[in-house]
Every structure is written in C-alpha cells, then in structure tokens.
Symmetry: C2
Subunit: 161 residues, 2 copies
C-alpha cells in the first residue's frame, strides 16, 4: 500500500489504458535518453535530464521552448517500486534539501492490463489554488499529450526489454 | 551511502558522543510516548506526537509552551534505516503532499561508539537566510538541550530493549 491519498480538491489525476507493457513504460520514465524523446509536448524539447533512481536521488529536467528559452525543473525521487510506482517531488531537491519553489509531488502508478498497462499519473498539491493553477496550465492536455507521445515512442521500437 | 550532502553555508549540524546505546536512542526517537518526554526543551512539552515509521508516513508533533500555546509541526519521514539513519521533513506532509510552510529537512545519524553512540543531528535548509533564522532560533542550544534530556530519560530506565 502506498501512503499516497488523493484529495479531489487538491489533486489532479490522469488515467489511461495504454497498449504497451509496464516494463517498457518503466524504462521510458527512468532512462534519460528515452525520457528526453517524449516528456514534453512537441515542439518543445527536453534539453537536460538527470535521473538518480533512489530515494533522494536527482530527478532534474530542463524543458526548452521552440524559441530556445529553458525552464529547469529540479527535484528528487521519493519512492521507487520497479514497474509499479514512481513518486517524485520538486518540494525537495536532490539529497532531500527543501527547494525554493515547491509546486507538486508527482506519482506514476502502473498496473499490467492485458498486454498493456493501466497508467495513472497523479499530481499532489498543497492548496486548492496551486491545484487550480496547475489545471489552468493545462495539466490534463499536457500529461495526456506526453502519455500519447510516450506510447508512440515505445511502439517505434527504440526501447528493448 | 546516504544521498544527504552537508553544505556548511546552508545547513546546521550538532555532533555529540553520548553514553547510551544506538538501540535505545532509536526507540526514544521513534516511539511517541518516549519522544514526548524529551523532544522539546523543558518546561515546554510535547502535547501530541504521531509517528508512522515508513517513507511518506506521518511525523507530526505539537510543542506546547508553559503558557499553553500550541505549535504544531507536521511532516513526514523520507528515509528509515533502523538504528542508523532517520530522515524527515516538514516540506512534505504525510503522503508526500507539499506543505505550505517548508522549513527544513532533518537527518539523525547514529553510529555505535564503544558502549555509546556517535549522535549527529543535521538540519538541511533551502537558503542561507533560512539557515540563519534557524540558527538564531537557537538550533545548537535547543538540539543540544534535548539530546541531553534524551540521554537522561534513557538512563532513567524507562525504555527497555
């Protein structure tokens, strides 16, 4: 049992059934060279990705706009259950140091579903206001778009078991 | 190896050699009825203590002034290595939800030292300003005082192996 409890007033949830296996979704999420190919809606790109897959380890990405402006997102992993659950936050930097710009804790939940995966992405926030801001920034479209990009990338055969 | 890295500009560290064994220090830190007896400098008291000893589990305490004013501190555990290392933060509430008042991440490091314990308490901060505030609030005196209260409590024989 995860300690994570969803509060509909504070949190955002995206649920999808996708037709790629959990093992490949896990690799797509936890390998920098793969994550860079799908993690932001195109034509934006990921110009930097650092993954240190342990509690307190770095989960740092930089998103780059088509005009070349860069937006770093630094944080760390909190909970790692291979092929099932990945929890991370930007409220703590690598090494569990409090950050200056806490925004959300993310949780990716995976379950095998036939030959595919039940894919659940959760964003936990501290207040309703932050949840509304995240929703307004396009959480559902954005996370839905990148889930689709990830499925296409996996189906392209670039990841091997 | 812990992921924690001390930065002298941002962090505060208290190191002590104490003549009580690591196993009893661990119990004193992780059992609400014991922690309540020593965790704040007297005559302040701990009026509430909730400990759910797993990553993301609650570490909530309320400090009560002699005049009866109460100061809740809610947070969660991040890393638990029995008898050796306990990491917790108020930047995340139980269930890893970002908090509204992030202040510091705490790490308790224990090492057997003869019949006693090398006791290291670390406070990690996000900025120099927060470190200075914590120092000004009396980090060294306060954490030193409660370490002494803990040793006295353990020597009083209230904790059994």
């Amino acid at each position: 049992m995860s300690v994570i409890k969803i509060n509909p007033k504070l949190d955002l949830v995206l649920e999808r059934e996708i037709d790629v296996p959990v093992e490949l979704v896990w690799i797509a999420w936890t390998t920098p060279r793969h994550l860079k190919e799908w993690f932001v809606p195109k034509p934006w790109t990921i110009s930097r990705c650092e993954i240190d897959l342990r509690p307190g380890g770095a989960f740092n990405t930089t998103m780059r706009s088509p005009e070349g402006e860069e937006f770093p997102n630094d944080g760390c992993f909190l909970e790692i259950v291979e092929h099932r659950r990945l929890v991370f936050t930007d409220a703590l930097l690598p090494g569990f140091r409090p950050s200056e710009k806490p925004f959300f804790t993310g949780a990716l939940l995976l379950e095998p579903h036939g030959q595919g995966t039940k894919y659940t992405a959760i964003a936990l926030h501290g207040t309703e206001e932050v949840r509304k801001n995240h929703e307004g920034m396009g959480f559902h479209d954005g996370w839905g778009t990148v889930a689709g990009q990830m499925v296409d990338y996996i189906k392209g055969g670039k990841i091997s078991h």
